[in-house]
């Protein structure tokens, strides 16, 4: 069996190596200022409108299933927007990336499958949307014009076109 230093060995070497502690990642270094300057451009900033929508969304389930009066108005949601914005920002900056890294490292086959299925779903969705649109256009084009006449049993238009007389 011929040995080759390749992907299998480097994967194994990575698996047996300790993860870098957070304290070492957070230490300031010479390249940190440049990286910090570049970071805001890539960072996801949670807008107040998103926080407002998220706040109102929290009251959608009771409004839907208990009473519509639970639905939140903009003026009512405004006091909760600042803490909601802070929480969403923390979710985007820390929690979501950490969860993604943890889960993706633990179950790579599952996430690969999910990604492949997701891509297929998007392709199928686009195709079916076009089909539905075409069907709707055909339905509208073939629909009989409505004249507003009253239809009753005695009028000609009331006769079925294919009547089976027994």
């Amino acid at each position: 069996m011929e040995n080759q230093v390749g992907g299998d060995f480097e994967n194994a070497a990575a698996r047996v190596t300790a993860a870098v502690p957070e304290s070492e990642e957070e230490k300031p270094n010479a390249t940190a200022p440049a990286e910090a300057a570049a970071a805001p451009e890539e960072k996801l900033i949670v807008k107040p409108e998103w926080a407002l929508a998220a706040t109102k969304a929290c009251f959608w389930p009771p409004a839907k299933f208990i009473h519509p009066a639970y639905a939140l108005q903009d003026a009512e949601a405004v006091p909760v927007v600042p803490p909601m914005q802070k929480a969403l920002q923390a979710l985007a900056d820390k929690i979501a990336p950490m969860l993604l890294v943890r889960l993706s490292n633990r179950y790579p086959e599952f996430w690969d499958l999910l990604a492949a299925l997701g891509l297929l779903y998007i392709q199928k969705y686009n195709y079916v949307s076009a089909v539905i649109k075409k069907e709707e256009e055909d339905r509208v084009a073939n629909a009989k014009p409505v004249t507003g006449e009253r239809v009753d049993e005695k009028s000609d238009t009331a006769k079925p076109s294919n009547a089976f007389l027994i």
């Binding site: 069996m1 040995n3 080759q4 230093v5 299998d8 060995f9 994967n11 194994a12 070497a13 698996r15 047996v16 190596t17 300790a18 993860a19 870098v20």
Partner: protein, 213 residues
């Protein structure tokens, strides 16, 4: 064990005692830094075992890797690594420290794979144990050959009953030095005296021939 692997071109010895084997000449010595816990492993520094294998991937080598603690976890990492390296003999000193007796589910997966199906990657797995009964039964049952040296430990004598006739089990407590009972798969157990005078234990004076006047 050193006698067993004397002819192997690529040998890696796992040393948990860090005593006699520390001064073994002719061997490279690896002292990895291990970080326990979740996400733990060997520190990525100059002592990381992968660096040794990266530079000796196609070469013959003889190396000892010394573990100070966390024996089971570190052997698990080592088995993961050597399966990717392939074509080597992994000799584990004091197997009972690395894979103590327990149920089948207690054996870590990489160690199990290396022992049971490591031959697919060209791995040979061997080990020593002062008390065989303390070694996991999967390791014992998968061993194609065992050499039983003198022992008086009750549980080890009981474990030996599954491998040799009663008469040989009864002889175990009184075996002379360097004499063993050889139990090999597919062959009857026998008393092996071929190693008398051939083994040199590190740190002990060599046997001297007495002059007859």
């Amino acid at each position: 064990m050193l006698y067993e692997v004397r002819a192997e071109p690529r040998v890696l010895i796992a040393d948990p005692k860090c005593a006699q084997l520390v001064t073994l000449k002719g061997f490279a010595h690896i002292w990895p830094d291990y970080v326990p816990g979740k996400g733990g492993g060997w520190l990525d520094n100059e002592k990381h075992p992968a660096r040794f294998f990266r530079s000796n991937f196609k070469n013959d080598f003889r190396a000892v890797i010394h573990f100070r603690a966390h024996f089971r976890e570190q052997l698990e990492l080592l088995c993961l690594l050597v399966r990717a390296v392939g074509n080597l003999t992994l000799a584990v000193d004091e197997l009972g420290l690395f894979i103590p007796a327990g149920t089948a589910g207690t054996l870590p997966p990489a160690i199990t794979s290396a022992m049971i199906s490591g031959r697919h990657e060209g791995l040979k797995f061997c080990g020593t144990a002062q008390i065989p009964s303390l070694v996991h039964f999967i390791a014992r049952s998968n061993a194609s050959r065992m050499r039983w040296f003198r022992t008086t430990e009750k549980n080890s004598l009981q474990a030996a009953e599954a491998y040799m006739p009663r008469a040989l089990v009864d002889s175990l407590p009184s075996l002379p030095d360097y004499v063993c009972i050889d139990t090999t798969d597919g062959s009857p157990a026998f008393r092996d005296e071929s190693m008398v005078g051939k083994l040199k234990i590190p740190g002990t004076p060599a046997l001297r021939r007495k002059s007859i006047s």
